[in-house]
Symmetry: C2
Subunit: 514 residues, 2 copies
Amino acid sequence: MYLTQGLHRAVQQHPDGIMTICGERTRTFAEVADRVARLAGGLRGLGVEPGDRVAILALNSDRYHEYLLAVPWADAVLNPANIRWSPAEIAYSLVDSGTSVLFVDDAFAPMLPALRAAVPELRAVVHCGDGPTPEHAVGHEELIAASEPVPDARRGGDQLAGIFYTGGTTGHPKGVMLSHANLAVSALGALGTGFVFRPGARFLHAAPMFHLADLAGWHGQLMLGGTHVMIPAFDPVATMRAIETHRVTESVLVPVMIQMLVDHPEVANHDLSSIRGIMYGASPIAQPVLERAMKVFPEAGFVQAYGMTELAPIATLLSPEDHLAGRLRSAGRAVPHSEIRVLDPEGVEVPRGTVGEVAVRGGHVMLGYWNNPEETAATIPDGWLRTGDGGYLDGDGYLHIVDRVKDMIVTGGENVYSAEVENALAAHPAIAACAVIGVPDHDWGERVHAVLVCHPGTTVTLEEIRTHTKSRIATYKAPRTIEIAESLPLSGAGKILKRELRKQHWPDSDRQVH
Amino acid sequence: MYLTQGLHRAVQQHPDGIMTICGERTRTFAEVADRVARLAGGLRGLGVEPGDRVAILALNSDRYHEYLLAVPWADAVLNPANIRWSPAEIAYSLVDSGTSVLFVDDAFAPMLPALRAAVPELRAVVHCGDGPTPEHAVGHEELIAASEPVPDARRGGDQLAGIFYTGGTTGHPKGVMLSHANLAVSALGALGTGFVFRPGARFLHAAPMFHLADLAGWHGQLMLGGTHVMIPAFDPVATMRAIETHRVTESVLVPVMIQMLVDHPEVANHDLSSIRGIMYGASPIAQPVLERAMKVFPEAGFVQAYGMTELAPIATLLSPEDHLAGRLRSAGRAVPHSEIRVLDPEGVEVPRGTVGEVAVRGGHVMLGYWNNPEETAATIPDGWLRTGDGGYLDGDGYLHIVDRVKDMIVTGGENVYSAEVENALAAHPAIAACAVIGVPDHDWGERVHAVLVCHPGTTVTLEEIRTHTKSRIATYKAPRTIEIAESLPLSGAGKILKRELRKQHWPDSDRQVH
């Protein structure tokens, strides 16, 4: 089990097949293998030794794909940076990981001076963009052209494959260490369900490639030897064009992307019928959005994935059949490579239907947090990884995520899981998106507060919202205050950054619960 | 990744579903889990410590299934004995592995006195049959009833899961050490192709459960949480009845079993239409047999698996589509978890189309041979496992096995791969089965000799055979002598025991080539 295995297999089986399509550039499997072998030689020439960390800060491209293969080929360690982060946050991740070489594209080249200043260990920069190569950097193409191919190290198994810094939704960024085996097991287990990534797929990278959600799609597709289509970043029109032009069959998206696609005025002008499968994560999908999506993508099976970077990343899947059966409120069931449990604070399994912390075990559980044995031990105290998510299992083993454990609102002594309130709010016809948080309250300790994004041309009142909500869930769960916003702050993974929303309400940003 | 993982997952998702059907006995997932926890407790009570080897010598049954789960649950090591072996050979494997506890059923209880005498380390015997419990043995049911459940050790990953003694087709038996990860990767990779083991399957164990071929089916089915149907051993009528009664959807068979089924006079009296998938191994299937099989199993996809115990066991698969496309002469292509190469004697990859030794790399390659570091190093000198099989890769990455490297016949200075001759012979209408071996010859060093089994009511002459063969392959490859037999000696895996055939011709049974 090593990240480059699928490349060798594909070269053996169809060397002249198309591996990557990126803008005007198209490359065969044999070409990519040759380029990767040379790029790995180039990394060696830049002084990269086995185990060294090599980062990338770039939008999606075929060169990102080559980076993902060349680094393990050279026996080095991946470190894909979160493109939504500030320079200070990215610098933190580079310093923390001890990264010595950084790939950067045109979009992020302007950040280089700040990064160089903040990361003294940074020895070399590879420019993987199409514009002029920045000063003191070597061009990706130039490096490939100037380097001799080296043999694939073919190291894998439990060896460290990459450090993946987790999104800033909670606290301080942590470097998640994933082995080759972690990544392979998660990809094989997801393939094993037969829900997604069938042979012969053309996979669209529209979600950011640095994130494990898209990377999981990348790895599954790599193992099956299919074609990767890249667009720099998600954009509804670019996505529709790529699907139509390249007859894309599968993609990994987040619900908000799906919604933007299906509600786009141009959607009827594009032939999107080639799509056979859409995997989405980060949050459940609303029934009306799913219904519209099924019309736009008539051949598509929809699969919800639940997991996290620490799980490389998949733990449960909600199958296409579950979608048709209306089980949209569930995150699905444990995949073949995973075992899940719901635990009380003492680590004891709770009865079915009882909310507790979701814990996961299996060959996909991370090696640990980089340079952070304490946090590793706290997260995996007994072989079971604590996800930090609150949820319960129903009688059929379906997992229902009710909230981040720390997102739970305690108001007047009652526990309110914000996801439950959000689900109720989402059913209101005027509401396009929403987030529910706890804010400090003189009377209630915390009160339920909703941040709402309305559909264009509509609005809502607090009175309406409370009436609507109370018709669905207990009165104490209904928002006591609301706020109308243009949009919600999203992480790179498409998760709503509730921390950002809370900041305005809590004087001490390190403590946002009462 | 641990062998019991699929059991936990299934209990969570459908505790009251049927896990095993064996004769009149039917057990749910929850029942099996409880029994396994008690059986593991019973093993502890018998003195089994972590890492101890626990063997089984039995026909297929639901208790065999419980053994396969209880041993890892108790953190012990599996050692399923080859039921086709002589008492001396079985004793050898028990002594070599240091087995302390043995499960034995009614069929093999008569072998107990000889085994006890030959295996001094054998401390306890568990009787998993339905007849009277032999002296100094404890009954399987009695042990379960008398023992408290213990928690699952849940140890896995690279830890030793079992020692699997390889069939006696070549030389001295060797104990193949497979880890939990080896077995899980092979099963997940096979599932990942989507060719076999879809969710909701009812899997028939007709091939012997001790063998990795059936065990791979067992594990894939375990991971997907489906139903296992057991018959004690393959028998055409019992197999047809089990398929019809239990609406079996999938099975692992060998071609000779498929042939016996489709040519059976009673085949038309049974409804076999529930079969969706048949995986077969050990040897390719002849086109006429496949055509008859497709009529008998109209809904079935046929998949050929190539591999060996050392590969846990799958390396390549020939897909249902490949069968329809007439690629029956190939063993298929590398599965997602595997990488294959063809090497010359120096370990260098040969060009496409050139015959060499097949080598395999991936997370499914065994830990090594038990107590045999020299043989381990010789077999995996550089990360690539040498299969001992001669073959070549075509331009599309399909593997063609031409022979066991050591089965190659050198006659008059020419190399003859016996599989090539066998393929030519199999096309003759009178020939039901055949094996080609090299026998000593005064003039040619070795000569090509064919052992033939004819269809009832037919016969052949040497002259006919030579004419038939020469119309297909080079003259020097045509058999110079033939022998008509009632049947061919088969190993437990359904492989033809060429060693047995050669014995009659070679004075020194340790050396059967010139």
